[in-house]
């Protein structure tokens, strides 16, 4: 699992979902968490952190958001020199195959389909960490 000092960015336009994800992260021992209510809010946070000496080491983002969709935020992150390998998990209620293919093509590390339980999220994070660790 990700080390406890991992800096995490949680992005969702619904406050409830951010709370659920943050609670699940805490249960995994991850307390260094920042949150954003849209991809458009998250993107400058990511850029600013990347420019500092404390970039985000994990991003968990919703797909459907009003100003900037999660898929577009992912594309921005992947286009940024500091974001090419940042673990990025997309959360979506849209489980259609076409969306998943689109996310994989854009470089998503893993995705989780709503509804999910805290245990489901933990499993996904473990899978992502194992993938990242292998390099």
């Amino acid at each position: 699992m990700f080390p406890s000092d991992t800096k995490v960015l949680v992005v969702d336009d619904f406050k409830t979902m951010r709370k659920i994800v943050i609670n699940a992260l805490k249960n995994c021992g991850l307390e260094n968490v920042e949150e954003a209510d849209d991809g458009a809010t998250a993107w400058p946070m990511f850029e600013e952190a990347a420019a500092s000496d404390k970039p985000f080491s994990l991003v968990i983002s919703d797909w459907n958001m009003p100003k900037m969709q999660g898929i577009d935020f992912l594309k921005n992150v992947r286009a940024h020199p500091a974001g090419k390998a940042t673990p990025f998990v997309l959360v979506t209620a849209e489980a259609e195959q076409s969306n998943i293919v689109q996310a994989v093509q854009a470089g998503v590390s893993n995705y989780i389909v709503k509804p999910f339980s805290p245990a489901d999220l933990k499993t996904k994070l473990e899978q992502v960490y194992a993938k990242v660790s292998k390099g």
Binding site: F14, K19, T92, A93, E94, E96, P115, F116
Partner: protein, 289 residues
């Protein structure tokens, strides 16, 4: 498709009335004809017509405010489709507010009128069949059960589904509702999830580990998100059945003991659920685009 027994045609112009009789009588010999609103109301009493045909030529519409009164009184309550013949901008402006009105422009003839009648009646019957089909009911029911169970550890008992026919008043009330548009190429409508306050609070508290005692902005946010997730899951499975339902963003209604009025008027699939602390009423209203 079984042919309906009769229509009622309302047309104050005697020449046009004759044309309509000539066209309709071979296939619909029992059709009733009325030349005035009063006459139509008299003939409609205790009758069950599957649809109404109205001549919409100017200046008849402009001068016949009684038609609009009738639209409110009879057609909203009975919810039957109308066809407005000879429609133009004026009639579409005035009658377009009624979702059950279909317009056939000036250049109609016997063939186009028959085809139009068939399409209107078939689409009504198809919608009703769709709503009571388990392939439509089950994805919605399963999404509700699965999402509440996974995200909030709340297990609800399913009641018996039923259809609330077009324009029947809602039988259910609640304290907070999430609503989302259900639009496809085949139908337009909305899905509404109406929770009683105790159930909404239990769901919220279980989801985020808090202890709210009244509905506030956080609970509203949670119900919106739940509606979003339930809709997304139901849509995925309904689209596997070929419905092509488009993505949509939910909205919210809250208020003690409110009833939901859907933006479209159609038949409504009603799914009641109950739990140890409260009730959830799910309604899916659809009409033809």
């Amino acid at each position: 498709m079984a042919k309906p027994e009769s229509f009622i045609v309302i047309c104050p112009d005697s020449a046009k009335m004759e044309k309509l009789k000539e066209v309709l009588s071979p296939l619909y010999p029992k059709t009733l004809y009325a030349s005035t609103i009063k006459d139509a109301e008299f003939k409609m009493e205790n009758q069950n017509f599957p649809l109404f045909i109205l001549d919409g030529t100017k200046p008849v519409l402009d001068k016949s405010s009684g038609i609009f009164a009738m639209a409110q009184k009879n057609f909203e309550t009975k919810g039957k489709p109308w066809i407005v013949l000879n429609s133009g901008v004026e009639s579409e402006d005035k009658f377009g507010i009624y979702p059950f009105v279909k317009f056939l422009p000036n250049d109609w003839n016997g063939e186009t009128l028959y085809r139009f009648l068939d399409n209107v009646l078939v689409s009504e019957q198809t919608l009703m069949k769709t709503l009571i089909d388990v392939r439509f009911v089950n994805p919605i029911m399963s999404a509700v059960i699965e999402v509440l169970s996974t995200m909030a550890q709340v297990n609800l008992d399913k009641g018996a589904p039923y259809i609330r026919k077009k324009a029947e008043p809602p039988k259910t009330r609640g304290d907070i509702s999430g609503i989302v548009a259900v639009n496809s190429d085949q139908f337009n409508g909305s899905l509404a999830l109406t929770f009683t306050e105790p159930l909404a609070l239990k769901i919220y508290n279980n989801m985020v580990g808090e202890d709210k005692t009244a509905i506030d902005e956080d609970v509203k946010d949670a119900i919106m998100e739940l509606t979003n997730v339930i809709f997304g899951n139901a849509k995925r499975d309904l689209n596997k059945e070929g419905h092509s339902i488009r993505p949509a963003i939910p909205s919210l209604i809250s208020g003690k003991n409110h009833e939901v009025r859907h933006s479209t008027q159609g038949h409504c699939l009603c799914l009641p659920f109950s739990g140890d602390v409260g009730e959830l009423h799910v309604e899916c209203m659809v009409s033809t685009p």
